[in-house]
């Protein structure tokens, strides 16, 4: 039997939640959200009409309630008759250190559990207990005794400990007594949650996103639910003549458009979105550059009718990768196409790389066609393409670039990679007109187009002829 952690997605990562009748360590640096996690655990069960018990050795319950985010406080108000507490910090001034005796603590907790029939318990902050033991083995023994007492009473307890340096817990022994260990990481800007131990069952390794919101805590696992689309459909890009160039495209394909600024990547994305809308499909447009109004205004000016698309505007430097991944997942449940617009060249953390891979793979499996526009930094003669993760996963890679033709900076595209064999291997010139992208054709009289400074083949032939005599 499992007992929910109060966080559905965390339960999924732990094989259903805490083991029933278990002693579970929640460890983290100050400010990581240990108390909020613990309170959320209690409130989740209290809301399900279970009597729960909170034990504090330091901070008063009143303070904790007073400092809760408003949404959580409202949740508490709605079920507070089910929430019982023992605030040992409040009687410490009178009773002194005698109160921090493990025997007294255990007896008081188990008596209260029996009175209220509480099986869901939190012991928040064991730090005040520590000075009363001379050796760490004594702490381990005391915690073991307490855990046995709680388990015998049928309790599923979460106890919190502060991390010290690289250690998992304050004393370095708590994790050995615990049936499960959850670590909360906080570096001052982002939070992560990690399952380190789960006695007797499998769990999902690694860091997962973790966010404190008004109404509680949200977990963003580093994996997404996997469900495969059974139907594979042919996909049209939406630019006249583009299918011949790219070759066959199918739902679930990932198309990468890479090129310097001004080569029409966004306009190609408008074509791609408009085509889906014309087919009656839903589109999610994720922009890392412009807001909704700007996107729609620009599209309108070019004659595109894409008002029906769902638009998300996010700042690449501010988003939490796991939260973003889940946001995309939730927002693509009914869409057929996703556009990620405005990814630039930037150093990616390991978390971002993992998210990039997991998300794109998930979209692919779900049959959602993805278009990614990636801005390269070099204007002319760039051979660098998107981020390695994207290029590896992309089914179709289209490289857009400038070429100096006839004293003009003209635009050409070349298909670097295509899913099938039948695609245009040549270099294609295109233009941006009043109604978007217009494919012109191959600049056949030129060579070296891709270098940005092409030469006329006729001239080359003449030079060769001259030297050969």
């Amino acid at each position: 039997m499992r007992v929910s952690t109060g966080l559905e997605r965390l339960d999924d990562l732990m094989g259903g939640g805490f083991l029933e009748k278990s002693f579970n360590l929640l460890s983290g640096t100050p400010g990581a959200g240990k108390t909020l996690f613990a309170v959320n655990y209690l409130l989740y069960h209290a809301e399900k009409d279970k009597d729960v018990l909170y034990i504090s050795l330091e901070e008063s319950w009143k303070n904790i309630i007073g400092n809760l985010p408003e949404g959580l406080r409202k949740r508490y108000e709605s079920c507070k008759n089910r929430v019982h507490y023992l605030d040992f910090g409040s009687i410490r001034p009178l009773l002194g250190k005698e109160i921090l005796n493990i025997e007294i603590l255990g007896e008081t907790i188990s008596t209260s559990m029996a009175v209220h029939n509480s099986k869901i318990i939190v012991l928040d902050g064991i730090a005040p207990l520590i000075p009363h033991f001379e050796a760490t083995k004594e702490i381990r023994m005391a915690l073991f005794e307490l855990s046995q007492r709680i388990k015998k009473m049928g309790g599923t307890m979460v106890f919190t400990s502060e991390r010290a340096g690289e250690m998992i817990s304050r004393c370095g022994v708590e994790e050995y007594v615990a049936d499960s260990v959850i670590l909360l990481h906080y570096d001052g800007s982002s939070r992560k949650i990690q399952i380190l131990k789960m006695r007797g069952s499998e769990f999902i390794y690694g860091h997962h996103g973790f966010k404190i919101e008004e109404s509680g805590i949200k977990v963003f696992p580093n994996t997404l639910p996997e469900h495969r689309s059974k139907k594979i459909e042919k996909v049209e890009f939406g630019i006249k003549g583009m299918e011949k160039i790219i070759g066959k495209m199918y739902s679930g394909d990932i198309i990468l458009l890479s090129g310097p600024p001004g080569t029409g990547k966004t306009i190609m994305a408008y074509h791609f979105a408009e085509k889906a809308l014309k087919n009656g499909d839903k589109v999610l447009f994720v922009s890392f550059k412009e807001g909704k109004e700007q996107i729609l205004k620009r599209a309108r000016e070019l004659g595109f009718k894409i008002e029906g698309i769902k638009i998300m505007h996010r700042n690449l430097f501010e988003i939490d990768p796991y939260e973003f991944m889940w946001e995309i997942y939730e927002n693509t449940k009914d869409v057929k196409r996703v556009i990620f617009e405005g990814i630039g060249h930037m150093e990616l953390s390991e978390d971002v790389k993992k998210v990039e891979y997991t998300l794109l793979r998930n979209l692919k499996m779900r049959g959602i066609t993805t278009l990614i526009t990636h801005t390269t930094s070099d204007i002319i003669s760039s051979y660098r393409l998107g981020t390695p993760g994207i290029t590896y996963l992309a089914d179709n890679i289209i490289d857009l670039r400038y070429s100096e033709i006839g004293a003009e900076l003209r635009k050409v595209l070349v298909v670097i990679k295509s899913r099938g064999l039948e695609y245009e291997k040549g270099i294609i010139e295109y233009d941006i007109g009043k109604r978007g992208i217009r494919i012109i054709g191959k600049p056949e009289s030129l060579e070296g187009v891709i270098s940005g400074t092409p030469r006329h083949l006729e001239m080359k032939k003449r030079v060769e002829k001259f030297f050969k005599g």
């Binding site: 008063s60 009143k62 019982h84 507490y85 023992l86 605030d87 040992f88 409040s90 009687i91 009178l94 009773l95 005698e98 109160i99 005796n101 025997e103 007294i104 007896e107 008081t108 188990s110 008596t111 209260s112 009175v115």
Partner: protein, 127 residues
């Protein structure tokens, strides 16, 4: 000199010798002999016990409120009220017995050890 109503009490020889030593060492206290010393000591001790009992009884009277106040922070208003109402109903003048009855009420909610510690500490603080 004593009267016929007086009663005899026995003290061990070592104590008797210690009393004689004190009488000789501190003549300015004015004890005429061991009997007067013992009478004086008993008078003082009885007075101290009476005073202590008065303090204890006062402490006992304050205890229900003190416990309610303490338990309100410790385990919430509702539970504190339930327990203090039961404590208010205790009819017992003897402090020791009173404390035992308080412990009996509290132990069902907070365990024997904490109940004893709490009740005795509250009495001690008043002393």
């Amino acid at each position: 000199m004593g009267s016929e109503e007086d009663k005899m009490v026995r003290v061990p020889k070592e104590m008797y010798e210690a009393i004689n030593d004190v009488i000789k060492r501190y003549p300015y206290y004015g004890w005429k002999g061991p009997s007067e010393f013992v009478r004086d000591a008993i008078r003082r001790y009885l007075k101290e016990i009476n005073e202590r009992e008065i303090v204890l009884r006062k402490a006992v009277k304050k205890m229900p409120n003190k416990i309610e106040e303490m338990l309100r922070d410790f385990m919430g208003e509702e539970e504190a009220q339930i327990l203090s109402e039961r404590i208010f109903r205790i009819r017992e003048d003897e402090p020791e017995e009173y404390v035992n009855k308080v412990v009996d009420i509290l132990k069902g909610r907070i365990g024997q050890n904490l109940a004893e510690l709490l009740a005795r500490k509250l009495l001690e603080v008043e002393k």
